[in-house]
C-alpha cells in the first residue's frame, strides 16, 4: 500500500484535530493554514480538522513569534491540550522569530515558551509546505508514535540535497 494511502487510513482512524493559535503573527501563515483546508489543497483529505477548543485537539498549530502579551495565554492553552500532544510551529516567525527577531515585544518563536515538536518554515509557510509538514508528522506518528527526527527526514530527500542539510544531520545519516 502506498505511503499516501497508509496516511489516509491512519488519518481516517485517528482524525487528528488541530487547534490553530496565533501568537502575534502578521496573519499570513494563519491564512495559509486556512487556505490549506479549502478545495484547492483540501487538508481535510488527511482527516485533519480545525477545532476551536484545546481540550479536544491533538495537534497545536501555532503561528507567530510570540508577543509578550500573548505568552501566558499560549502556555495556558498548551496546558489545556490533553496528552499526548504535538506542537507544530508554522512559519518562520514561529520557528525562530523570523523578521521580528530582536524586537522588544517579541519572544522569538514558539519554542521560547513551550516545547515544539515540528517546524514548518516559510514566510509565509505555503499551503503545500503545511500539508507536506502535516503529512510527514502524521506518518511519523503512525509508524513511530513520535514526530519525525531530522535524520529520518534526511533519508527521504533526493540525492544531493544532503549538501543543504543542517550540520549533524548528514553525519547522522552517514552513521546508519
Amino acid at each position: 500500500m502506498s505511503v499516501f494511502h497508509r496516511i489516509v487510513r491512519w488519518a481516517q482512524r485517528k482524525s487528528p484535530w488541530i487547534l490553530h493559535f496565533n501568537t502575534g503573527a502578521c496573519n499570513a501563515c494563519d491564512i495559509e493554514i486556512i487556505a490549506a483546508l479549502t478545495p484547492r489543497f483540501d487538508l481535510e483529505r488527511l482527516g485533519v480538522q480545525l477545532k476551536g477548543t484545546p481540550r479536544h485537539c491533538d495537534i497545536m498549530a501555532c503561528s507567530g513569534p510570540v508577543t509578550k502579551q500573548v505568552r501566558d495565554r499560549l502556555v495556558r492553552i498548551y496546558q489545556q491540550v490533553p496528552e499526548p500532544k504535538i506542537v507544530v510551529a508554522v512559519g518562520t516567525c514561529a520557528t525562530s522569530g523570523g523578521v521580528f527577531t530582536g524586537l522588544y515585544n517579541v519572544m522569538g518563536g514558539i519554542d521560547q515558551a513551550i516545547k515544539v515538536d515540528a517546524y514548518i518554515p516559510g514566510c509565509p509557510a505555503s499551503p503545500q509546505a503545511i500539508i507536506d509538514g502535516f503529512a510527514k508528522l502524521i506518518k511519523s506518528l503512525e509508524t513511530t508514535g513520535k514526530p519525525p527526527a531530522p535524520e529520518t527526514l534526511a533519508a527521504e530527500m533526493p540525492p544531493g540535497a544532503a549538501a543543504e542539510m543542517p550540520p549533524g544531520a548528514a553525519a547522522a545519516e552517514e552513521q546508519k
Binding site: 485517528k14 490553530h20 493559535f21 496565533n22 502575534g24 503573527a25 502578521c26 496573519n27 499570513a28 501563515c29 494563519d30 491564512i31 495559509e32 486556512i34 487556505a35 479549502t38 478545495p39 484547492r40 476551536g52 477548543t53 484545546p54 481540550r55 479536544h56 491533538d58 513569534p65 508577543t67 502579551q69 500573548v70 501566558d72 495565554r73 495556558r76 492553552i77 496546558q79 489545556q80 490533553p82 499526548p84 523570523g98 523578521v99 521580528f100 530582536g102 524586537l103 522588544y104 515585544n105 517579541v106 514566510c123 509565509p124 505555503s126
Partner: protein, 424 residues
C-alpha cells in the same frame, strides 16, 4: 485517544437566564491567579449589547522601534510583514514616503507595476473577506468558493513576484521585477475569470433574501458617526463617506487611471459587503487599463543608501482603508522615525458604536465586517449582564452561538447555495 464529553451549549438565552446566578464558566480550567486577557469586554442587557470595551495589542511586536535599528532596505522587509493580508500596502506606503524624502522620481513603468500589484492584492483581500464573513454567519460554502477563486490571484502573484504573500516587489526607487509581456494575457485571463465569479457573488448579495436579512440593519454606523469617529475604507464608504486615497491623494499610477469610488448608504454590514463587491469590479477595470496603458521603460531609478534629513507622509488606500506612514530621515542609512497607522486602528472607535444596542449574536459578523487586521480566532470575549460577574467565551464560541441564535430565528445560511454552481 480519549475524547472529553461534549461542551454544554452556551446560548445568548442561557447567558441571559444565568445573569443573576453565579455561573461556573464551562470553558477551560480557571486559574484565578492568572487573568484572562480579554479582547472584548461586553456589557449585556439580556441578548443585546449595552457597551463594548476593546483591548488590543496582541500583534504589537515593536516594529516602529525595529525600523530605527535597521536600514531602509531591511525595513522594506520588516514593514511588509506588519500585516500578511495587506503586506504590499504597507511596503508601498513606506517606500513612497522614503522616496519623497529622497526626492526620487519613479519611472512610469514602476508606478504602473506597483498599481498592478496593489490592485491584485485588493482582489485577494476582498475575496478573503467575503469568505471570512461567510464563515462568521455559518455560510461556509461561500468560504470555500471565494477562497478557491482567490487561489487564482495567489498563484498569479506567486508567478509575478515569487511569493504568494510578502512579494518583496518594492525597492527604493521602483520595483525589483518587471512584468514580462507573456504574463499579460495570463493576468487578463485571471481578471476575466474572477469578474465572472464576482458577478455571481453580486447576484447572491442582491437577490438572496436570507443573506440580505442576515446582514441588514446589523452593525449600524451612521454617516455622522463615521465622520466623527474617523472611520476609513469600505466601512466608511458603506456609510456614505465619499473618501478614497487613490482618488483624493493619488499615488503610484492612479492619477492616470479612471475608476469609480464605490459608495453605499446602507450604513450596515450589508452595505460593507456591497461596497467590497463593487470595489472588486472597479479593480478588474483598473487592471485592464493598466495592461493596456503600461508604458515601457526602466522599472527603478537609482536610490541613495543614505536618505537625507527630511520627512514625508504617505497615504495609501489599502483594501481595509487608508494606511498612513510617516517617515523621518536623518541623513543616515537608518530612519530616524517610522510611524505606521494601519486602517484597522482608524476604525477602532467605530466598532464599539456599531455593536451598541445590537445583538450579541451579531458581534462576530460586525467585527468581521470592518475587515480587521488582527486574528480573531483566539480572542476572548468577556460578558457581564446585570451582576458584576464576568463570564468568558472564546471567539469561536460566540461565533457558533450567533449562528445558532439566527438559525433559531429562521436565518440558516448553512444550506445556501452559490448561484450557477449546480453543475460543479
Amino acid at each position: 485517544m480519549p475524547r472529553l464529553p461534549p461542551e454544554p451549549r452556551v446560548t445568548a438565552a442561557s447567558l441571559a437566564a444565568d445573569a443573576d446566578r453565579v455561573v461556573t464558566v464551562p470553558i477551560g480550567p480557571q486559574h484565578p491567579a492568572l487573568k484572562e486577557p480579554e479582547s472584548f469586554m461586553v456589557d449585556l442587557r439580556g441578548e443585546k449589547i449595552d457597551a463594548v470595551r476593546m483591548r488590543f495589542g496582541y500583534n504589537h511586536r515593536g516594529i516602529e522601534k525595529g525600523c530605527e535599528q535597521r536600514s531602509y532596505t531591511q525595513d522594506l522587509y520588516l514593514v511588509e510583514r506588519v500585516c500578511g493580508i495587506c503586506s504590499y500596502s504597507h511596503s508601498t506606503a513606506f517606500v513612497q514616503a522614503v522616496e519623497e524624502i529622497a526626492g526620487l522620481e519613479l519611472p512610469p513603468r514602476a508606478r504602473y507595476i506597483r498599481t498592478l500589484i496593489a490592485e491584485l492584492e485588493r482582489i485577494h483581500s476582498h475575496l478573503l473577506w467575503l469568505g471570512v464573513a461567510g464563515h462568521e454567519i455559518g455560510f461556509d460554502t461561500l468560504l470555500m468558493y471565494t477562497w478557491r477563486d482567490r487561489e487564482q490571484v495567489m498563484i498569479l502573484l506567486a508567478r509575478l513576484t515569487g511569493n504568494r504573500v510578502n512579494y518583496g516587489m518594492n525597492t527604493l526607487g521602483g520595483v525589483r521585477r518587471d512584468i514580462a509581456a507573456e504574463m499579460m494575457p495570463l493576468i487578463l485571463k485571471v481578471v476575466d475569470s474572477l469578474e465572472e465569479r464576482t458577478k455571481t457573488y453580486i447576484e447572491l448579495a442582491l437577490t438572496e433574501q436570507t443573506l440580505i436579512q442576515r446582514l441588514s440593519h446589523v452593525g449600524k454606523l451612521s454617516k455622522e458617526d463615521a465622520l466623527r469617529l474617523g472611520t476609513v475604507g469600505p466601512t466608511a464608504r458603506a456609510s456614505g463617506v465619499d473618501r478614497d486615497a487613490r482618488r483624493d491623494d493619488p499615488y503610484a499610477a492612479y492619477a492616470e487611471l479612471s475608476f469609480n469610488v464605490v459608495i453605499d448608504d446602507h450604513c450596515d454590514v450589508y452595505g460593507r459587503t456591497i461596497v467590497r463587491l463593487g470595489e472588486l469590479m472597479e479593480t478588474y477595470s483598473i487592471i485592464r487599463q493598466i495592461l493596456k496603458q503600461m508604458p515601457d521603460g526602466p522599472i527603478a531609478t537609482k536610490a541613495p543608501r543614505r536618505i537625507p534629513e527630511g520627512e514625508a507622509v504617505s497615504r495609501y488606500e489599502a483594501p481595509r482603508g487608508e494606511d498612513v506612514h510617516y517617515v523621518r530621515g536623518n541623513g543616515s542609512e537608518k530612519p530616524e522615525r517610522v510611524k505606521v497607522r494601519a486602517p484597522t486602528l482608524a476604525n477602532f472607535s467605530s466598532v464599539s458604536k456599531m455593536l451598541e444596542d445590537g445583538y450579541l449574536a451579531d458581534l462576530p459578523i460586525v467585527i468581521a465586517a470592518i475587515d480587521p487586521c488582527f486574528s480573531c480566532t483566539d480572542r476572548m470575549v468577556s460578558l457581564r449582564d446585570g451582576s458584576s460577574t464576568r463570564r468568558t467565551m472564546t471567539w469561536d464560541e460566540v461565533s457558533r452561538m450567533g449562528i445558532q441564535w439566527h438559525k433559531e430565528r429562521g436565518l440558516d445560511l448553512s444550506t445556501l447555495r452559490i448561484p450557477g454552481s449546480a453543475g460543479e
